[in-house]
């Protein structure tokens, strides 16, 4: 069974929304809304209403980063200070907690941010070669719907999209 990929471009979000809604309601039997990828020039949080909630793991990474940062910060600082004991200065203890807290706070944020960005890069599947069906119009003002389905579903989908005044439909076959 060969697989194909289809991309339809719509002039506005509402039409695309309607098209996805149709897919969601199995207007094309055998094609699930989970196969749909929406490509849009701006962020459409409301798309989830038809796509269903798809998870994002970024905040978990942020939490992990924050915890790592603060723990690492404490042990890094404390163990550095504990080996560098000429440091008692100004009558202060070797391991002065208040000033370490300041640095732990900074490390918390730094690690949280680095983890977040890493999670974003992984989660958003960046650093990958773009699929050939990409249309530059998407970055301008059109909304695209992309599906990766069995070849046999391409035609019904085309029909569906045309119903919704798709401006352009492209397709390709995946080897």
């Amino acid at each position: 069974m060969r697989k194909g990929r289809i991309l339809a471009l719509f002039s506005n979000f509402d039409e695309a929304f309607a098209a996805i809604s149709d897919i969601r309601h199995y207007k094309v039997p055998g094609v699930s809304v989970d196969d749909v990828t929406v490509i849009s020039p701006i962020e459409h949080p409301e798309i989830e209403e038809v796509l269903g909630e798809r998870p994002s793991h970024v905040p978990k990474f942020t939490l992990l980063g924050a915890l790592t940062g603060v723990t690492f910060g404490f042990f890094f600082l404390a163990s550095a200070q504990a080996t560098f004991t000429v440091q008692p200065q100004g009558g202060k203890p070797v391991i002065p907690l208040p000033s370490n807290f300041v640095l732990m706070y900074e490390m918390l944020i730094l690690f949280a941010m680095l983890f977040t960005v890493t999670a974003f890069v992984i989660g958003a599947r960046l650093f990958r070669k773009r699929k050939s069906l990409y249309s530059e119009k998407v970055s301008l003002d059109q909304v695209g719907i992309e599906l990766e389905v069995d070849e046999k579903y391409i035609e019904p989908l085309k029909e569906l999209f045309n119903q919704h005044q798709a401006l352009e439909i492209r397709e390709e076959v995946i080897k």
Binding site: A82, V86, Q87, P88, Q89, G90, G91, K92, P93, I95
Partner: protein
């Protein structure tokens, strides 16, 4: 870098000076300066130049305030303790001299602010400056309420010691290059030499065995230098040094922001004690017959 250290010595590392701190002090070098005897003659300051390779900066740089006077005699004209001075026509009680050298504070404000730990507290109770480590952020000088830290704004070697003046340089300590902070060390090179000698002879450093250059030259003997530590163990084997005795006589104690003297008329005081810098230099008040 060792996590083991952190946990095994945790409680020790968490002690500040008020609980004894981390240091097991071997000595606590300190001074007592009797302003009744100080005549403000400047001998100490020049002796300091001679001993510690201080750069002579010349008139223009002195005017710019880039001079290196580790030890300076401050001179004030007013004497608030003897009444309002503004109305007087003459300074009938003379000048108010005070020799200011690094006060070697135990809770030194210069120490915690150094980003690279170039200034720290030695087990001798000295406030040490590691020239090699200094990167010249100058924060320590800014945070010294006594303004007793001096910065090498230039490389003075060529200009200060034209041949053959450089032959006078004391080889026991460095000539500081530009970009380094420096200050009075209580003549640490003499301390080290005396300690080494004592170690070779398997004994403790004796009181008065050596003196910093200023104390040694002072024509009136206004500066007393020695180990303050015996102050805490009176009569305990070592005996009390002269300087410790003076501190005790004047009921001045380390580690206090305000002295609680039984006899408040005793002359001992420390400059800016209320800032909790805990200086190791005690001054004895100037005396005037009125």
């Amino acid at each position: 870098m060792s996590l083991k250290n952190v946990f095994t010595d945790w409680s020790r590392y968490r002690k500040g000076i008020e609980e004894g701190g981390f240091h097991d002090y071997e000595h606590m070098w300190g001074m007592a300066v009797d302003l009744n005897k100080c005549i403000g003659c400047n001998a100490c300051a020049v002796a300091c130049y001679a001993e510690n390779n201080l750069a002579v900066v010349g008139e223009e740089k002195f005017y710019k305030g880039q001079a290196m006077h580790w030890m300076r005699i401050e001179r004030y004209w007013d004497e608030p303790d003897l009444g309002e001075d503004r109305v007087k026509e003459f300074n009938h009680h003379g000048a108010n001299f005070i020799p200011m050298m690094c006060q070697n504070c135990n809770a030194a404000t210069c120490e915690p602010v150094c980003p690279v730990a170039a200034t720290y507290h030695t087990p001798d109770g000295l406030n040490a400056q590691v020239y090699n480590r200094c990167i010249g952020s100058r924060y320590c000088s800014n945070n010294c309420p006594y303004r007793l830290r001096f910065f090498n704004f230039y490389s003075y070697y060529e200009s200060s010691w034209p041949e053959p003046l450089h032959m006078q340089l004391n080889p026991d300590l460095t000539v500081r290059d530009k970009g380094v902070m420096e200050k009075c060390t209580f003549c640490v090179q003499r301390i080290r030499a005396a300690k080494d000698k004592a170690r070779r002879e398997d004994r403790k450093v004796r009181d008065g065995e050596f003196l910093p250059a200023c104390a040694q030259t002072c024509p009136t003997g206004a500066i007393t230098f020695g180990d303050l530590l015996t102050l805490h163990t009176p009569g305990g084997g070592v005996g009390e040094t002269k300087v410790a005795q003076m501190w005790r006589d004047h009921q001045v104690e380390l580690g206090k922001t305000r002295q609680t003297k039984q006899n408040p008329e005793l002359r001992g005081y420390r400059v800016f004690e209320g800032l909790n810098t805990d200086p190791c230099v005690m001054y004895l008040e100037r005396v005037r017959e009125v």
